[in-house]
């Protein structure tokens, strides 16, 4: 391969990385926001994401196969359904499991174990339900519309699918950023994250803000599930694990608790992963295949964290007196 061949791969690689990165970022926000207000790693978040993906597959399969409706509208309907189910599940987890533990002042390991429990419960519940109807590995119906290509550079194209994901995820992130930075609700969320007691002394119903935070995280995870299913074309009850782990990593890389950090972390992780997946085989004559991309991506993350332990945009611990 010549130098210019390698360079020519770059635009597509970066575009793919950005698509993946925005999906990670959309999931990562849920981890980061919940951590921000509660100091809790909500490990059930990856399954909330998975449920969103499953819901979208079922909506597309049972409501829209053979439908004349415009594919964008179909995806929009799937998104609303997935966001509703995922958002409801996230709020249910908070109300049924986390809040009672908080009221009883349980030490931090109790909600953590609970989160893992909810995670396993959701995996098996989805597997059980899907098994009643047949195979629990569910294909996303193929929609030719999304396979159409538009030019990216002189030599490259990008699919409608990728553009759709970029636009939807980008819109979600910008909307969330506006909500958190410029609305009264956003100010309350930031205040609760900084000091729960002080926020309650301002007349903020802290439990309500925590619930809304779970709701927002759940909605974002549900939408990310739809985008993931659209992109990868196949979903099963265990689909949440790896993207969830990577989104969590993205949240830590960006600085857990930081909203812009989660976005930045997701994009960096997505781009690193695709860059390494593309170029590692080329530069090593296929000695190191694409399948090793995660080792390098995570290796680079560890190095970044050694130099910036609080994450790229994380608050330094000394600031929180």
């Amino acid at each position: 391969m010549t130098y210019s061949d390698i360079l020519m791969l770059l635009p597509v690689t970066l575009a793919d990385g950005l698509v993946l990165g925005l999906v990670y970022a959309t999931i990562a926000l849920g981890y980061s926001m919940v951590y921000g207000v509660l100091g809790l790693i909500n490990f059930a978040h990856s399954e909330i994401f998975m449920v969103g993906a499953i819901v979208s597959v079922e909506v597309m399969t049972y409501a829209f196969v053979g439908s004349d409706l415009h594919p964008i509208i179909q995806i929009a309907v799937a998104m609303v359904c997935a966001a509703t189910v995922s958002g409801t599940l996230a709020v249910a987890a908070e109300r049924i499991a986390y809040r009672p533990l908080r009221i009883r002042k349980a030490p931090f390991l109790a909600p953590l174990i609970t989160a893992i429990g909810i995670s396993l419960f959701l995996q098996d519940a989805v597997r059980f339900i899907e098994s009643l109807f047949g195979q629990f590995i569910r294909p996303f119906p193929s929609i030719p519309f999304f396979d159409q290509q538009i030019p990216l550079t002189a030599n490259d194209t990008i699919s409608y699918k990728s553009v759709t994901i970029l636009v939807i995820a980008g819109t979600m992130l910008l909307t969330l950023n506006y909500l958190v930075q410029h609305t009264k609700l956003g100010k309350a969320i930031r205040a609760v994250a900084l000091d729960r007691k002080a926020a309650s002394l301002m007349g903020v119903n802290v439990d309500r803000i925590i619930m809304i935070t779970f709701l927002i995280g759940g909605i974002l995870a549900g939408v990310a599930g739809v985008l993931y299913a659209l992109q990868f074309g196949r979903v099963d009850p265990f689909t949440g694990f790896i993207p969830g782990l990577k989104a969590f990593t993205a949240a830590v890389l960006g600085g857990i608790g930081s909203i812009p950090g989660a976005m930045l972390g997701g994009v960096i992780l997505g781009i690193l992963e695709v860059l390494i997946g593309t170029y590692a085989p080329i530069f090593t004559n296929n000695v190191i295949g694409t399948e090793y991309k995660d080792i390098f991506a995570f290796g680079i993350l560890i190095i970044i964290l050694i130099f910036k332990p609080t994450g790229l945009l994380g608050r330094s611990t000394t600031e929180k007196v």
Binding site: R190, L194, L201, V204
Partner: protein, 244 residues
């Protein structure tokens, strides 16, 4: 409206008992604050002053006894409901939002309010009391000096336009000049009609501006009376003013 509720104290605490696990922090504290008064609660370290305020604002719920605000019991309320009933609490250590700007901190004070014009009016009023804050509206709360943070905490509580202001050691950690300034401001706020319950270790200063005082010792009211009277009382001077 009965004549009784007209004359009821603005805030009345009856036989308050509070626990931290097995620690019995308040052992039957009772006191009253009449509308328009500055009442000070003085006492040394660990006397139970902060605990008393936290119990009133319901940050601490492991307590018995009754707390009446405008004649109604508030012990069943959540902290945010207590605030919205008209009780503002400037907690120990100020607890301003370090990652929010000064303007955002102040806006948080008016959280329950949606009338933009009224919020702007209260902001302006706060800035006339604390001109230093106005110059720094875009600055993050965490970057203020201790004295400025104390001013922000008071200004933020005033954004709630409270019926009563609970202040937990506003003089703590401040230079004498700042202490004097903050006490002047408390007097000014009171003159404008806000009732004040002032918790202080700086008994001399507190008695100087208060109408009445209660002395808290080991979770019990050890003494009470007219502030000027207590200021000239030998026992007080010995025990709390370090002039013995």
């Amino acid at each position: 409206m009965t004549a009784g509720s007209q004359t009821a104290p603005l805030l009345e605490v009856r036989d308050l008992q509070a626990y931290y696990g097995h620690i019995h922090a308040l052992k039957g504290v009772s006191f009253k604050v009449e509308k328009g008064e500055i009442v000070t609660l003085i006492g040394g370290n660990g006397a139970g002053k902060t605990t008393t305020l936290a119990t009133i604002s319901r940050l601490l719920t492991s307590s018995t006894g009754d707390i009446l605000f405008e004649g109604r019991s508030i012990t069943g309320l959540e902290p945010h409901d207590v605030v919205n009933a008209g009780i503002a609490h400037v907690p120990e250590g100020r607890r301003i939002f370090s990652g929010l700007t000064i303007l955002e901190n102040l806006e948080m004070g008016a959280f329950a309010l949606s009338d933009k014009a009224e919020i702007a009016r209260r902001l302006e009023h706060g800035f006339t009391l604390f001109p230093r804050l106005k110059e720094r509206v875009k600055q993050l709360g965490g970057t203020l000096s201790g004295g400025e943070q104390q001013m922000l905490a008071v200004a933020r509580a005033l954004m709630q336009n409270p019926r009563i202001l609970l202040l937990d050691e506003p003089s703590m950690g401040l230079s004498p000049l700042f202490v004097e300034r903050i006490f002047e401001i408390i007097e000014a706020i009171n003159r404008e009609g806000t009732t004040v319950l002032l918790v202080e270790q700086n008994a001399h200063m507190a008695l100087g501006i208060a109408h009445r005082a209660y002395v808290l010792k080991n979770g019990e009211i050890a003494m009470e009376g007219d502030a000027r009277h207590l200021l000239s009382d030998d026992a007080i001077r010995e025990a709390y003013l370090g002039e013995g």
